[in-house]
Symmetry: C2
Subunit: 502 residues, 2 copies
């Protein structure tokens, strides 16, 4: 069976190569491309996507998959087939007509979303969104699902998760965060304000590179550039790139963004080399990916022990800014304040933005909410969960690009990321001699323990099991039923009770 | 016939998209990629090349080509078919076995060439080169040729040119340059030496960007970066990138390199938009491409009138370097001095390096020279044509990468470029009111006349005719028989008699 296996691997590697190449095109578009290159680049991406699709659905690949599924394979090879089969099923099940309609609807949707934001008027976007939702429900029927249509989309981002496993976690988060927010709102404690700089970009870049290197991001297998929105992009094995952005009046914001992207990138840099070029060698889920960025951002970058070391570096790098001491810098990284905009939310209120979006998406998919009623529902949800009221649609229902791109079922992964991160950090500390020992490592800038633990327990597993199984194995979280958010809430109380109580 | 034509265009555009994408991968590899990304990148390029080949030889494309070749098409469409058919024939005629062997031989050839250079010992490289030459002769038989095997390779770079049209030009150049070199050798004139700086890189970058913009390179459709070896790379319509490099002790070297690459890039930026995505919309030949870089480098960047404007800018940008006046700067750009290394040669002696390589390649292909005798033949040729003697193989026969990559028949395009450039410049001046008028435009930094003439007479034609026809139409050079190098020799006498006579 060696020969068909080699043929199969060759076809899978070609698919993965096309994905990496598309990743480079996308990175280049956001970081390097001149403005007038946009039209040609869109054509290149379309050509790659069409080739990828035709190679994925090609009948010979289907034959090989069936042959291996019916045969006896070692577990490692079986998982490679399983993962490819999953991707191929997604491609085969959705008819070409629906793929084209979705591409057209989301392309138009993005344009009208931009227009609607500009005018701060949801009604401009409403017809396009209504069409997108209808097509996504149709897509769910084509893909198939466990319990209800929304499950089909959840499963695209989190293999195996459903409304049944996700909703209790999200509703539980809303419930358990309420008393914490109450405490913050009623707190009479005052905290020092971060000096507004100026923090020159070149000194921020030096700081960010130094921190990225210290926590374990490998610059010989990546690079750090500046873009409007920070992101991580894998371009191939040994080539995992990140970007960040610097605010002139806040040195912590860019640094936390860099640490966040480093978390994503170190996951990619640690994926199993022997499975490179297969779908068993990639990240296990979007939520697990986000857990890696949140692990480093929340549990390292916002930790007081981390700042005990970094505060001195920061003060030295910005000699013209007085008052850059540990209290001030740590306070800037651990402020809790309910706000309107998801991407600017702090680590405690962030999941509430997700709960709101999840509730609305589910209601749309269940036919319990009409598209036209979204702005009001969004406003009410913001008030209910966060106690804030948007002044207009741009601050409210139009703030995210996701729906215009047809990305339903994606938001929960962000909350799952925060939740997984807290459990992983708790388990890592248990394994590494307890929290005080880990904190002492942070104080001396030694992150090899934490990174090594993540390498062994998360990164090196790739997709050889589901994200849920990986987290379960590493932390003891139950591998079925609702996702358990206990560690996350405990982490928040651990950090913020001391800061805000009284 | 509309539907098959759309199908055909779709297939051609896909091929061109894959070429553009490969161009981006190559640019990124040389400018941006982290070191550990190399292995994955090589895999991506192999995957793209395999896809490109399979799409190019696919029988359906062949059917469509034959159908259009047999039918009646408007001239514009006919040329699109002709150009695709030419590319397809090249791919179809060379058997897969030979393609693989060549890929393997040149990959190994490059490695042993590096090793041989390191050790300055040709014998390390000799067996690999012998195999490459044998395979290239075999490839010539597969491709077919007009008169002799070497013609097949010439034709890959210069459609329609043969030994019969190229050799007389190259031998004529050697003959006509001898008296000029004699004059230079016997000259008693002394010229001011350029101060050795230092010229900080950031100030050089400002100068280079300003000059690039002034002569007409569009930055919103490109970008300028720094690499070890300057190059131009097209990534797509509206995205034509260049690189340069800066010497700390010579401000003119980097600037001339930038102007050279701008010449390549402005050609690409001026190709016909309505033919984009077809092989009629690309550059007509390697020699014509080189003529565009040489046009700007030699006829503008080395022109005294150009420096009458730029000298002041340079002096202002480097206030710490005394003596940056027009005499000194212009002298640095117009020094003639026979030397060992082709890539460092001045505009007058450069073609002699090409004559030498052409003679050796032709002798190898004709079986008149054995690979093992190359080092001696190279040494003798350098002495005969340039009067210099290399100290070792690295300075001599091992100086170029081309042969290790199997690039035989490529070198003549460089000389053709210089020759075409001189004729195009002469014709442009005739059309624009004579040389004094053009020089006056240079003095005030107005290059719209020259660029506009090139756009109309070269760039906008793409490959709708052969390079030779384009140059013939624009300059009156005979469109068949030996390439006419009269204008080039006249240009050199025009410039250098005044500098070196006496």
């Amino acid at each position: 069976m060696a020969e068909p296996w080699e043929e199969f691997l060759g076809l899978v590697r070609e698919l993965r190569a096309l994905e990496d190449i598309s990743g480079l095109l996308s990175w280049d578009q956001r970081v390097m491309m001149p403005v007038r290159g946009a039209a040609a680049r869109a054509g290149h991406q379309r050509a790659l996507a069409a080739l990828h699709h035709s190679r994925l659905v090609n009948p010979r690949l289907g034959e090989l998959v069936r042959r291996f599924e019916d045969g006896e394979l070692p577990a490692g090879q079986r998982r490679i087939v399983e993962r490819l089969s999953r991707a191929r099923d997604h491609a085969v099940r959705v008819p070409a007509r629906l793929v084209d309609e979705l591409a057209e609807a989301t392309s138009a949707g993005y344009d009208t979303w931009l227009e609607a934001r500009e005018a701060s008027s949801f009604s401009i976007f409403a017809p396009a969104l209504e069409r997108i939702v209808a097509l996504k429900v149709e897509q769910a029927e084509a893909l198939g699902y466990a319990g209800e249509p929304y499950d089909a989309h959840l499963d695209l981002f989190e293999e195996g998760e459903t409304v049944r496993t996700t909703e209790p976690m999200l509703r539980g988060l809303a419930e358990d965060l309420a008393p914490l927010l109450s405490m913050v709102r009623n707190s009479r404690r005052t905290r020092p304000q971060l000096p507004r700089g100026p923090y020159p970009a070149d000194a921020q870049m030096r700081l960010n590179r130094e921190v990225a290197e210290t926590i374990g991001y490998a610059f010989d297998a990546g690079r750090l550039d500046v873009t409007v929105h920070p992101f991580e992009q894998t371009v191939g094995t040994g080539d995992v790139r990140i970007t960040t952005r610097f605010l002139p009046d806040d040195v912590t914001s860019g640094l936390l963004a860099t640490i966040h992207e480093c978390g994503h990138a170190m996951y990619e840099q640690g994926l199993p080399a022997d499975l490179a070029g297969t779908y068993a060698g990639v990240a296990a889920s979007f939520g697990l990916h986000e857990s890696q960025s949140r692990f480093w951002e929340n549990h390292v970058g916002r930790h007081r022990a981390f700042w005990e070391r970094e505060a001195g570096h920061v003060a030295a790098l910005f000699p013209d800014v007085p008052g850059l001491d540990i209290e001030t810098l740590h306070a800037a990284c651990t402020r809790v304040e309910p706000s309107l905009v998801r991407v600017e939310a702090d680590e405690a209120t962030y999941p509430l933005h997700i709960v709101l979006r999840f509730e609305l998406e589910l209601a749309l998919f269940r036919g319990e909410l009409r598209t036209g009623d979204l702005p009001g529902a969004f406003r009410e949800g913001l008030q209910k969960h966060l106690g804030v009221v948007p002044a207009n649609d741009t601050e409210g229902v139009l703030q995210d690009v996701h729906w215009s791109a047809g990305l339903f079922g994606y938001f929960p992964s962000y909350a799952i990321g925060s939740v997984y991160a807290a459990s992983l950090y708790r388990a890592a500390c248990d394994a590494l001699g307890g929290k005080p020992a880990v904190e002492e490592s942070m104080r001396v800038g030694d992150f090899t323990g934490l990174l090594g633990w993540l390498r062994d327990n998360v990164h090196s597993l790739g997709s050889t099991m589901s994200a849920r199984d990986i987290v379960g194995r590493a932390t003891g979280m139950p591998a079925s039923g609702p996702i358990d958010h206990t560690d996350y809430i405990a982490h928040l109380h651990d950090r913020y009770d001391a800061i805000y109580a009284g």
